[in-house]
């Protein structure tokens, strides 16, 4: 079993396997996104009090959920690099950062768009929204730190330390609506007991969340492949790929 992980440490093997995964994952993701959006936006009825403006939930919630999960991916990949010195984990961490930042930004913007007609304001400084903003700044800080180092190996390790430090923010974001009375509502999807969202709306939402996870994975793999090609540009296997791509036209 461990040989699988050892093989993941080899750039050409990782490149090959990510290619074969993407060959089916990318179309599956696009299909899931299309079906989910159509289902949620067109084929589900309006909500009792919010009418049609609640439909932005199908983008807002998946983006926020995957932004949080993406931070864990980035931090854990960084930790793997720090502890086991696995360079592919470093590649994963660097590739995850911009995707997570973009998703956090999407969550904040869609939240603002949702808030204006429902709450009555574009922005409010309550616990969850403020901590999501802090998460965006943490992501951007990781990106900035990586660029500032000339020695990229040290850059990866420094960013790993920074991501791990920022990990304290994630449980705060998640639990802030329970600990403090805030404007943002508590979770509707409950892991234990009955969810407080009607199943006609819950199912497309779950599909969209799964689709966003798949989208994150696709973007991560695509970024990783690009990073691998850049890092290993002088090796034989990349040269062979380049020649093969050239001859294909």
């Amino acid at each position: 079993m461990w040989s699988f992980f050892h093989k993941l440490g080899s750039p050409p093997w990782l490149y090959a396997i990510s290619g074969s995964i993407l060959r089916w994952l990318l179309p599956a993701t696009l299909l899931a996104l299309a079906v989910g959006l159509a289902w949620g936006l067109l084929f589900t009825g309006p909500e009792a009090r919010q009418g049609n403006s609640y439909r932005i939930i199908y983008i807002h919630v998946p983006a926020a959920v995957v932004a949080l999960a993406g931070y864990y991916v980035m931090a854990i990949a960084g930790a793997v690099n720090l502890i086991w010195k696995m360079k592919m984990a470093d590649v994963a961490m660097k590739s995850a950062a911009p995707i997570g930042a973009a998703l956090t930004f999407i969550a904040l913007v869609t939240g603002a768009i949702w808030g204006k007609p429902t709450w009555g304001t574009w922005w409010v400084w309550d616990a969850r929204i403020t901590s999501m903003l802090i998460l965006l700044f943490l992501y951007l800080g990781v990106l900035a730190l990586y660029e500032a180092f000339d020695n990229k190996a040290a850059a990866g390790k420094a960013c790993a330390v920074l991501s791990l430090v920022g990990m304290v923010n994630i449980p705060i974001i998640y639990k802030s609506v329970d600990w403090w009375y805030s404007l943002h509502q508590p979770a509707s999807i409950k892991f234990i007991g009955q969810s407080t969202i009607d199943s006609s709306m819950l199912h497309p939402l779950l599909l969209m969340i799964a689709a966003f996870y798949a989208l994150f994975t696709c973007c991560l793999l695509l970024n990783m492949r690009a990073e691998l090609l850049q890092r290993e540009a002088r090796t034989n296997w990349v040269k062979k790929l380049a020649v093969a791509a050239d001859s294909r036209g």
Partner: protein
């Protein structure tokens, strides 16, 4: 000569840092002077109306304390990095965790502690009601300690970089924000006649967590920066 124990060693590091700081009193005075001048900026810019100033006083004082801390954080490890003393520290057999705590403690003693003790003067300059002063001093004492710890992380990550400057601010400001929220909330609560205790407890919790975990991050970051 026997090897000093861990606590004795870090006590010596602390004493060294304090002696170095005291030898350059200008560097201790500068942040306080910055604090005073920025406090003066607010009545100058917003108009001297006492009622309005006193409304914003907790936030203003806390933000300026935060900015002064930001300015001094960069230099915590830089001097020793440049002359190689830091590398020697990393090679020492004594645990880096305690030595790092000594550096941060020294930093706090010459920045945050002094700021907290001097803050009542500026609170009065901004027409803040006396009810809030105790909470202000306590929240600054606890909060600036957290800021020093977090600032140390940023300093350790960027000490090896030539163009550090703005970067350290970008890294540590997101982590400074919760401290600011609860620090100024403690003072607001005291001014409203409510208990500031819970807010100070949260600052205390941040301090405990910071003391437990920040030295680990700082030690790791120092090793990375020195090896780079």
């Amino acid at each position: 000569m026997t090897r000093p124990g861990a606590l004795a060693f870090s006590a010596r590091v602390l004493r060294r840092q304090l002696v170095l700081a005291v030898r350059r009193p200008v560097e201790i005075g500068n942040p306080l002077l910055f604090f005073a001048m920025v406090v003066a900026l607010f009545p100058l810019g917003l108009g001297p109306a006492p009622a309005q100033l006193s409304l914003f006083a907790p936030g203003i004082l806390w933000i300026i304390a935060l900015l002064s801390n930001l300015l001094t954080s960069d230099a915590v490890f830089r001097g020793d990095f440049e002359d190689g003393a830091l590398e020697q520290l990393l090679l020492a057999p004594q645990p880096l965790f305690l030595s790092v705590l000594a550096y941060i403690c020294a930093h706090w003693l010459v920045t945050g502690l002094l700021l907290a003790l001097v803050s009542p003067v500026f609170a009065v300059m901004l027409h803040m009601a006396p009810a809030g002063i105790a909470a202000l001093v306590l929240s600054l004492l606890l909060g600036t300690a957290v800021l020093s710890l977090v600032g140390g992380i940023g300093a350790a990550l960027t000490v090896g970089l030539r163009r550090g400057g703005m970067l350290i601010s970008l890294l540590i400001l997101p982590l400074y924000m919760p401290v600011l929220i609860f620090g100024s909330a403690a003072v607001q609560a005291a001014l409203s006649g409510l208990a500031a205790g819970p807010y100070l407890a949260i600052l205390g919790a941040m301090l405990c967590l910071g003391m437990a975990l920040a030295p680990l991050a700082i030690a790791a970051a120092l090793r990375i920066s020195v090896d780079a």
